[in-house]
């Protein structure tokens, strides 16, 4: 009886197994780009299997846009529509920058699961898993941007820079988001749990996004706060994105944003990789 039962269960096929084991020659190692894209593909497959995880990139920007436009618009700029022209690029920046912190959380979750042990024993370009993850996040940020801008246009947002201005604004935002993400990957490698990645990121992001020119013109703030707001990279970014969308951007404004991006990648990219090699 027992023997019969055992025979019915699918066994590992010995002939197929032997054949499968004869592939011993490694193909040439993949390029850095190919390896990164493979990890990007992996992240997209996860979205495909669990599409609910896109809730944050769609619902959050919608809520932010509606709340700030209608709650504050009348008081701050006379009417919601006038305020929208000012605040929408800022809200877009805030939404995307807020979402970047999930990068750190998902990296930490990944590392804790053991899949990273296997990945790190592969002879590939070492930053590929992190870069690939960030590339896939780019898809999420783009989605958040599309949702926010579409809603904005429906509510009466009319950018002076036209379609190209908006596209360039989003592109700059994506570059910044990619650069800032290295801060979160570094934090993910420092702390013990995904939850603590979340709390540390929040503690950094809240002051960073609110002490900025996202919601109001800094000229109404006390002098010391103005000084603080002016050196905040988020302020630099919002100014440039606003400038691009309304067609009034200056080379200086763009230069400052790209410089902050370069500094973020240089400092936190390096710290992340140093930490990553050691864990």
């Amino acid at each position: 009886m027992t023997e019969q039962l055992e025979a019915q269960v699918a066994e590992v096929d010995d002939t197929d197994l032997r054949k499968a084991l004869t592939v011993r020659q490694r193909p040439p190692r993949p390029s850095a780009v190919s390896a990164s894209l493979t990890f990007g593909w992996r992240a997209l497959m996860k979205i495909k299997h669990v599409p609910e995880q896109l809730f944050d990139v769609t619902a959050f920007p919608v809520m932010m846009t509606l709340i700030f436009t209608f709650l504050l618009g009348g008081a701050l700029a006379g009417s919601p529509t006038e305020y929208l022209a000012f605040v929408l690029p800022g809200i877009l920046v805030q939404s995307v920058v807020m979402i970047t912190m999930y990068t750190g959380m998902s990296l930490k979750t990944d590392i804790d699961k053991g899949i990273f042990d296997r990945i790190r024993t592969l002879p590939i370009w070492q930053p590929a898993p992190l870069v690939g993850g960030l590339l896939a996040d780019g898809v999420r940020y783009t989605l958040a941007s599309i949702v926010t801008i579409t809603l904005g246009v429906v509510l009466g947002f009319r950018p002076g820079g036209g379609f190209m201005g908006v596209v360039l604004g989003v592109a700059l935002l994506l570059v910044f988001a990619f650069s800032l993400s290295w801060l979160w990957t570094f934090i993910a490698l420092l702390v013990r749990t995904p939850q603590s990645v979340m709390s540390v990121s929040m503690a950094i992001l809240f002051p960073l996004t609110f002490i900025s020119n996202i919601f109001v013109d800094p000229s109404t703030m006390p002098g010391w706060l103005q000084a603080l707001v002016e050196v905040n990279p988020i302020t630099l970014l919002v100014t440039a994105v606003r400038g691009l969308m309304h067609g009034v951007v200056t080379a200086d404004q763009l230069g400052w944003v790209l410089l902050s991006c370069a500094v973020l990648i240089a400092v936190f990219g390096m710290l992340t990789m140093r930490r990553y090699r050691r864990t």
């Binding site: 055992e6 269960v9 699918a10 066994e11 590992v12 096929d13 010995d14 197929d16 197994l17 032997r18 054949k19 499968a20 084991l21 004869t22 592939v23 011993r24 020659q25 490694r26 193909p27 040439p28 190692r29 993949p30 190919s34 390896a35 493979t38 593909w41 992996r42 497959m45 996860k46 299997h49 669990v50 699961k113 053991g114 899949i115 042990d117 296997r118 990945i119 790190r120 024993t121 592969l122 002879p123 590939i124 050691r278």
Partner: protein, 321 residues
């Protein structure tokens, strides 16, 4: 293929805070064999493997995998090895097929090659039907199999298997054993850790017994067993009257204390020199004592392990005193 040993290590050390997780491990593992790390939880087996697999940097000592230094030539080491961790080293949010496809791509296969390799492996491991399901829905045995399949997308020269059968039911365990045997037959060197003595006994050509971060004994299973004596001889006589004479003869010949079991006719004694057993039995025959049954048993690895770790504890106590 070069002729360097699969693994050579001298004085490997890894310290976590105040704990010396690995405390001076020396190893020499020849290519083409199964080598077992045997030891209790927390003995340092996994830490040693993680260092050899380039996941942890040693705090002391050095090691080479097929002649490549694990720190300075980590990429060369990585191109020869694969690791199946204690916890599934696969992505359980992806399907089985997606996992293998991804690894194929990361190893440098083209898309079509990676896809066909994935499907061959799934078939070989009896997972064809589960190919399109997320791994998180797999049973324990299926998980182990997809995990091992993931390690042989290109069959490695050296494979680390960290507790490959922990938590598996006996049939799944046998399947994993069959896979390991096939791997070795095709030329892969396997380093496996286990807490199960019968597993080490079944699979491993040589075993290192690890405790408190050190190798406390090394050898073939047979050598380890004979290091604590060849085993036990049991002799059952046909009647109780011949027991005293038989006892005297066996003691004289084998020189070890003996005991009579509760049935009154079975004598057991430890055997230090197995060559003397035949002579001892012959003497019983000459003395006209009828032997109903006899057996010469090797000690189990359990006994070896207890003897070794027991000694270790006493030694540590003596040092402390």
């Amino acid at each position: 293929m070069n002729s360097a040993p699969a693994i050579e290590a001298e004085g490997l050390v890894k310290v976590f805070g105040a704990t010396r997780a690995v405390d001076g491990v020396d190893l020499r593992i020849n290519a083409g064999s199964v080598y077992g790390f045997l030891g209790p939880n927390g003995a340092g087996k996994t830490t040693t493997i993680r260092m050899l697999a380039t996941l942890l940097r040693p705090d002391g000592g050095q090691a080479r995998v097929f002649g490549h230094d694990i720190v300075t030539a980590a990429d060369a080491v990585r191109s020869r090895i694969a690791l199946t961790g204690q916890f599934a080293s696969i992505d359980d949010e992806l399907t089985g097929a997606e996992n293998l496809f991804m690894l194929g791509r990361l190893l440098g296969f083209s898309r079509p090659q990676a896809r066909s390799r994935a499907s061959d492996l799934l078939t070989a491991f009896g997972l064809a039907e589960a190919a399109g399901r997320q791994v998180k829905g797999y049973s324990g045995g299926m998980r182990r199999r997809i995990d091992i399949a993931a390690s042989i997308v290109v069959a490695p020269d050296l494979m680390f298997l960290d507790e490959p059968t922990t938590g598996l039911d006996p049939r799944s365990r046998n399947q994993v054993w069959d896979i390991i045997k096939a791997l070795v037959a095709e030329g892969t060197t396997v380093l496996l850790t286990t807490q199960y003595l019968d597993e080490a006994d079944q699979l491993a050509g040589r075993i290192a017994v690890i405790d408190h971060g050190r190798v406390i004994a090394e050898g073939t299973p047979g050598e380890l067993k004979s290091s604590i004596g060849a085993g036990a001889l049991r002799v059952r006589l046909s009647d109780a009257e011949s027991v005293p004479t038989a006892s005297r003869l066996l003691t004289e010949r084998l020189g070890a204390p003996l005991a009579v079991e509760a049935d009154g006719v079975t004598i057991t004694t430890r055997v230090l020199d197995p060559d003397q057993v035949a002579a001892a039995l012959a003497e019983l025959a000459v003395a006209g004592i009828a032997v109903r049954e006899f057996s010469l048993g090797q000690p189990s690895l359990d006994e070896v392990f207890l003897a070794l770790t027991g000694k270790k504890t006493e030694a540590a106590g003596a040092e402390a005193a």
